[in-house]
């Protein structure tokens, strides 16, 4: 991964190229070994197939740009694994680059999709204010609160626990501990969400290299095995969905990925959950079965469950709330570091099975990976 966070003066594409070079070198490979490239960009959609030429990659057997929003990173690893298994390619680089932060402009502007109202259907919702991810996710979270009695303080428990992890992570943007009172006193973004319920916005690039287990054995880094995977795309964006906010694509994707790996939630050592909002992590834990449906609020706020000393090792790098926001590469990159035993002060002894989630759109796209050391 490149330098992450408030890093200015580089384009998404340059971050992506840098991340790809770093990942290939980290693996002990040369760019000339690469025969597959999957590229993905952030909201600006500004990393394309030109990355191949920028990296000087000749005669690729696999090349495409992918976009499933926050579920893309997990999905890229899935397609790369299938390409490798099928013998279509042997060394596939999966890369994400994004540069939504502009110097001197607030993070809030990065995802507000501008001030111009488009004509037609897209414009109607925009004109009345039902626009940004902050607003749309807070509508989902409200529904969870109404149905199950989940509270803002329970969301806050996730923010506090993840900040405690971030304190241990030199890669994290936010490393000052916070209390539940800090969460409650942080400004309202879209009630029920406070500022500390919302992820960071970061510039940077992250890449992973997918190859055969046989080839990986001889490379520079300890291999991380891809043991199970699945996706789920409910297809209900801005349409009636009686499960809205209550049950997400994770409820299909998680069990399917665990079944493929032949494991259950009890076997999982570490979970790296997509946490664009505190609420997202909470509902995903329920959907994956780490607690019962509707019991997420109680689960995350019960002392001893989350945080570095907790029973459930969740978002060990601080997650998107406190470390860095590289879409699905945030949970994936932390999972890789943990699986390799390279997570420093936050390294977990039990790191054999790690679950990684990805979530995109407004709970519209979900991917799950089970990886192991």
């Amino acid at each position: 991964m490149t330098e992450l966070g408030k890093v200015y003066g580089r384009s998404s594409s340059r971050f992506a190229a840098e991340a790809a070079r770093l990942a290939v070198a980290d693996a002990g490979l040369l760019l000339s070994d690469v025969d597959g490239l999957l590229v993905s960009a952030g909201v600006a959609n500004d990393v394309g197939l030109g990355l191949q030429v920028e990296l000087g990659l000749r005669d690729l057997a696999v090349l495409t740009q992918m976009q499933a929003f926050g579920s893309t990173a997990g999905a890229m690893v899935q397609y790369a694994s299938m390409a490798v298994e099928a013998g279509m390619a042997e060394v596939v680089v999966c890369v994400f680059g994004d540069a939504p932060l502009a110097e001197g402009s607030g993070a809030g502007n990065a995802y507000s999709d501008g001030h111009r109202t488009p004509a037609g259907w897209a414009g109607i919702q925009r004109s009345t204010g039902a626009v940004t991810p902050n607003v749309l996710y807070s509508l989902a979270a409200r529904r969870h609160m109404l149905r199950y009695g989940t509270t803002s303080e329970q969301f806050g428990a996730i923010a506090v626990a993840q900040r405690d992890w971030a304190v241990l992570n030199p890669l994290a943007q936010m490393r000052t501990p916070i209390t539940l009172a800090d969460h409650q006193n942080s400004r309202i973004i879209s009630d029920p969400f406070h500022l500390f319920d919302c992820c960071l916005v970061s510039n940077g690039g992250v890449a992973v290299v997918v190859t055969t287990a046989e080839r990986a054995r001889d490379l520079k880094q300890p291999p991380v095995h891809v043991l199970g995977w699945a996706q789920s795309h409910p297809g209900t964006r801005l349409r009636r969905n009686d499960d809205f906010g209550l049950v997400t694509g994770a409820a299909r994707s998680g069990p399917a990925a665990m079944a493929m790996a032949g494991v259950t939630t009890d076997d999982i050592d570490i979970v790296e959950i997509y946490d664009c909002y505190t609420y997202t992590a909470l509902v995903t834990l329920e959907d994956y079965g780490f607690c019962g449906k509707g019991e997420g609020g109680e689960f995350v706020s019960t002392p001893g469950n989350l945080g570095p000393e907790g029973k459930l090792k969740m978002n060990t790098g601080g997650g998107q709330l406190s470390s860095y926001y590289m879409w699905g590469m945030t949970p994936l990159s932390e999972a890789v570091l943990q699986a390799r035993g390279q997570a420093g002060a936050r390294q977990q002894d039990r790191n054999e099975l790690i679950l990684v989630s990805g979530n995109g759109g407004i709970l519209d796209h979900h991917s799950t990976l089970i990886v192991g050391s």
Binding site: G120, W121, Q125, T128, L139, R142, S190, R240, F244
Partner: protein, 141 residues
Amino acid sequence: MNIQPVVRDAATAAFFDGAARGVFLLRRSAESGEIVTPSAEQDSVGNTDLDWMEASGRGRVVSWAFVPQRVAGSDSPVELTIGVVELDEGPWWWTQLVGVDRDAVAEGLRVRAVFPKSGPAETDEYVPVFAPVADESAGPD
């Protein structure tokens, strides 16, 4: 209320015509009878024979959020209430809730569509937002 100007295109002309005369239009398949959201091009099984139908413009609140907004040239922030409304005919609509008391918003709150003009220009359309229904028995108003 804080509405941004919006203009029509070919796909939304009929809907905005309805809005201008205070009617919320939905679409219905002649084959299946299924009622779908106005932007839909087909029903849930692929029938594309959709006719426009006049909906009641009434519904109930499914979810809501209070969204602070800065107003240009003013120090006093405004708070928008954004909500999801389940229309009585079935489809859901993401929209602004107007004239609602912060403490009175609740799941199931009965609301009806009202259609403010979205901007001063002649081409700025009327858009549906939803206000509490004062008296359900009073009928359409």
